[in-house]
């Protein structure tokens, strides 16, 4: 009997445990957001994980609504949100705002950033911006098969070390690497993997000082806020939405949401 139990606790055994739940997700333990540049295969990854058939196509901007689905892995249920593809989280188009607001106010337990392995440098711009907001993220290094065809080799371990978060190479169209991706999502969600995300270093000392001073004040007023540095930066830039969120205290929901997800966890 003990032999069987040992087997069940082994991660290799559990790799086969991905259950696609489609849209059945009344109760879930974790919320996972899917972000990424347009046309990197987010919807394909989404379909792979949930078993849903979101329309996929080889053109940017195809996902216009926020799609939701679910999957379960190792007795935990995950709700997955497919965000519209964006090149950045800084400028002010509608889809960028949807994506940013969700990562910020929706407080996903894990944010999966799908990147195009053949265009890594440009995709990293978004990754770095997401890492400014949240520190629980996984990079899904997608289209790795295409990168190989282009004679590109990507050292995912170096990349993971530089970014401070797990990096999983995938070829989602072929379903390769999805199991490994799920395992990393669950490890980050449960806290087994602690991320130490890369933070953008500003070259200007004035900016550094200003951010530090401002984020101290913010931390004092909103104790427990996880990303004071980012909020400080947005205030410095005069982002009206964040200014309002600080004024009316909506920014507090960032802290409360975390507690909610902790409660859900303790129920199981």
């Amino acid at each position: 009997m003990t032999e069987i139990n040992k087997c069940e606790t082994c991660p290799v055994h559990n790799l086969g445990n991905l259950k696609r739940l489609g849209i059945n997700m009344e109760q879930f333990d974790y919320v996972v957001a899917l972000a990424g540049n347009p046309n990197t295969g987010k919807s394909t990854v989404f379909n792979n994980l949930t078993g849903l058939r979101q329309h996929t196509g080889n053109w940017p901007g195809k996902t216009v609504t926020r799609a939701e689905g679910g999957f379960s892995y190792n007795d935990k249920k995950y709700k997955l949100i497919d965000l519209p593809g964006t090149y950045s989280l800084l400028s002010t188009s509608v889809d960028e705002e949807i994506a940013r607001d969700f990562i910020l106010f929706g407080q996903p337990d894990v944010t999966v950033i799908v990147v195009d392995a053949t265009r890594l440098e440009r995709n990293l711009n978004l990754v770095l911006q997401v890492l400014e907001i949240t520190d629980r993220a996984v990079v899904c290094l997608n289209l790795i098969d295409e990168a190989k065809r282009h004679n590109l080799t990507i050292d995912e371990r170096t990349l993971a070390r530089e970014l401070g978060i797990p990096v999983v190479p995938t070829a989602a169209r072929q379903g390769e690497g999805i199991q490994e991706l799920v395992r990393n999502i669950s490890e980050v969600a449960s806290g087994n993997i602690k991320c130490k995300p890369h933070r953008i270093t500003s070259s200007s000392r004035e900016v550094k000082n200003a951010v530090e001073k401002l984020s101290e004040n913010i931390a004092e007023e909103f104790p427990g806020l996880p990303n004071t540095r980012w909020v400080a930066l947005r205030l410095l830039e005069g982002d009206q939405k964040i200014v309002d969120a600080v004024k009316n205290g909506e920014i507090n929901s960032l802290i409360q949401n975390q507690n909610v997800s902790n409660n859900v966890m303790s129920e199981f």
């Binding site: 800084l90 890594l120 590109l152 070259s203 401002l214 004040n217 410095l236 200014v243």
Partner: protein, 477 residues
């Protein structure tokens, strides 16, 4: 307590404002620079290139051809023509097969069954001759072309051709004062206008999005292809020597499709210079790499997601429409049915614009779904000309066995080549179907713009048909 909190927050904001002045106005640029610099460093540390970037060169060469000034459009029209030609020629056989089962075999069996259980005449009329037959017609006419067209379209989409189409059209739409992405939503409209209108969400500017929504109707949708094909085969194909019939009728359909694109450009131009004035906004369109399409996967998803979805919608709308047709053809006032009253009343207007009262009534009944226009026209023609020995009685929607039979009926109803041409034009330029109108309302949230999108094309259709009719008659006489 509350005041204290508010004060503290106000302090943070004002501190931010003071610091912002100190930091200087180029904070945004500095940040972006830092992000780009870090991204570059990280990428250079983890990416290695071995040998040549061969595939990139292939992509680039292909892009130079399909988006070239000289070849871009001809190649696109050629591709379009091939897709339509395969659809038209491939759909015939399965269409006839399904029709022979659902209409020739199953319908009489159902009728006999109705008689055997003593069901009243009006009930079997409404249910079997109205609802069932209209549904059967929609299935047999729509399913085969959709099952061929959608997978081919999806394969092109999967391969990465759509962004190139948008790239080609971008310049034209920008000159028309609209958004380049309208080219994408227009292409989606070729499948279904309602889907095309949902797709306009990719356009950020409300002004340009409205233009895209209003003009999407000029993308000939799937429900209208069968009408175009049938009428072109009868009247255009019939007007030329038989060895040219196929090419001439296919050419006529492509002409109508291109006319639709042209009209959407013209209307965009007019709208952006009158009621929806403004600058065309720039956008970056990434030409994604070509990817080998996954053929089996594409076949599966396009069949399940698109074909079955659109077909289901058509059936849902065709059933009540079939009931309505049967009723207006069978409820009599003063010896004449409702349908005949309307046709007699509207005939002068119809003739004036080169159509007739039957077509006008058919378009009113077919508001829910464009695909039932032709069977409605045929049924109403038989009814008003009192042809005997065809079909299965008053108010029965039917499919004739051959194109020649259909031509015979239409000629008996007084149709000419002009009627055929104008019907093709009117089929392109008239109000969107009710699903599309509802989608427009949902997307814009505005009754006004839904009305504009509905009535503007009707007015344009009447005007264009009127002019064509006048010129035609001038030349003929």
């Amino acid at each position: 307590m509350f005041n204290h909190q508010t004060n503290k927050r106000e302090n943070i904001i004002s501190l931010a404002n003071t610091l912002r002045v100190k930091v200087g106005s180029n904070l945004h640029d500095t940040l972006m620079e830092s992000i780009y610099r870090d991204a570059e460093i990280i990428a250079s540390r983890s990416v290695a290139l071995k040998g040549e970037k061969s595939r990139f060169n292939f992509d680039r060469t292909l892009d130079k051809i399909v988006t070239s000034r000289l070849l871009g459009f001809p190649l696109m029209f050629l591709l379009l023509a091939i897709v339509f030609w395969i659809t038209i020629s491939g759909a015939n056989v399965p269409s006839e097969f399904i029709a022979s089962i659902l209409i020739d075999k199953l319908h009489p069996i159902l009728k006999e069954f109705a008689v055997s259980i003593n069901s009243p005449n009006w009930l079997s009329g409404v249910l079997l001759d109205g609802a069932y037959l209209s549904m059967a017609w929609v299935v047999s006419v729509m399913l085969p072309p959709m099952a061929i067209f959608f997978p081919m379209f999806t394969l092109l989409e999967d391969f990465g051709y759509l962004p190139r189409v948008a790239f080609n059209f971008d310049n034209l739409y920008r000159k028309a004062g609209a958004h380049g992405k309208q080219a994408l939503t227009m292409t989606m409209g070729f499948g279904c206008n309602a889907a095309g209108i949902v797709a306009t969400r990719i356009i950020d500017s409300p002004r340009e999005r409205l233009i895209a929504i209003i003009t999407n109707n000029f993308s000939l949708c799937n429900g209208r292809w069968p009408t175009q094909i049938l009428i072109a085969t009868i009247f255009i194909g019939g007007a030329v020597p038989s060895y040219l019939a196929g090419i001439a009728s296919a050419g006529a359909v492509v002409f109508i499709a291109v006319l639709g694109i042209f009209l959407s450009l013209v209307l965009s131009w007019v709208l952006s210079r009158t009621v929806l004035r403004g600058q065309a906004s720039a956008f970056s369109l990434e030409l994604p790499p070509y990817r080998p399409p996954r053929i089996l996967h594409t076949l599966y998803t396009s069949l399940i997601d698109r074909t079955v979805f659109v077909l289901w919608r058509a059936i849902v709308f065709a059933i009540p429409a079939g009931i309505v047709i049967w009723l207006v053809a069978n409820i009599n006032i003063d010896e004449l049915s409702l349908a005949e009253h309307f046709i007699n009343w509207s005939n002068p207007l119809g003739i004036l614009i080169g159509l007739n009262g039957v077509i006008l009534l058919a378009y009113i009944i077919a508001i829910p779904a464009n695909e039932i226009v032709v069977p409605t026209v045929l049924m109403l023609t038989v009814l008003t000309t009192k042809l005997s020995g065809i079909g299965a009685g008053v108010g029965v929607m039917f499919e004739l066995d051959s194109v020649a039979d259909t031509a015979q009926i239409l000629q008996a109803g007084g149709w000419t080549l002009l009627t055929g041409i104008n019907l093709m034009l009117f089929s392109l330029i008239h109000n969107p179907c009710s699903t599309t109108i509802y989608t427009i309302y949902k997307e814009t949230g505005s009754v006004k713009w839904s009305m504009v999108s509905t009535f503007l094309p009707i007015v344009m259709g009447f005007a264009i048909c009127f002019f064509v009719a006048q010129i035609w008659r001038l030349i003929a006489s």
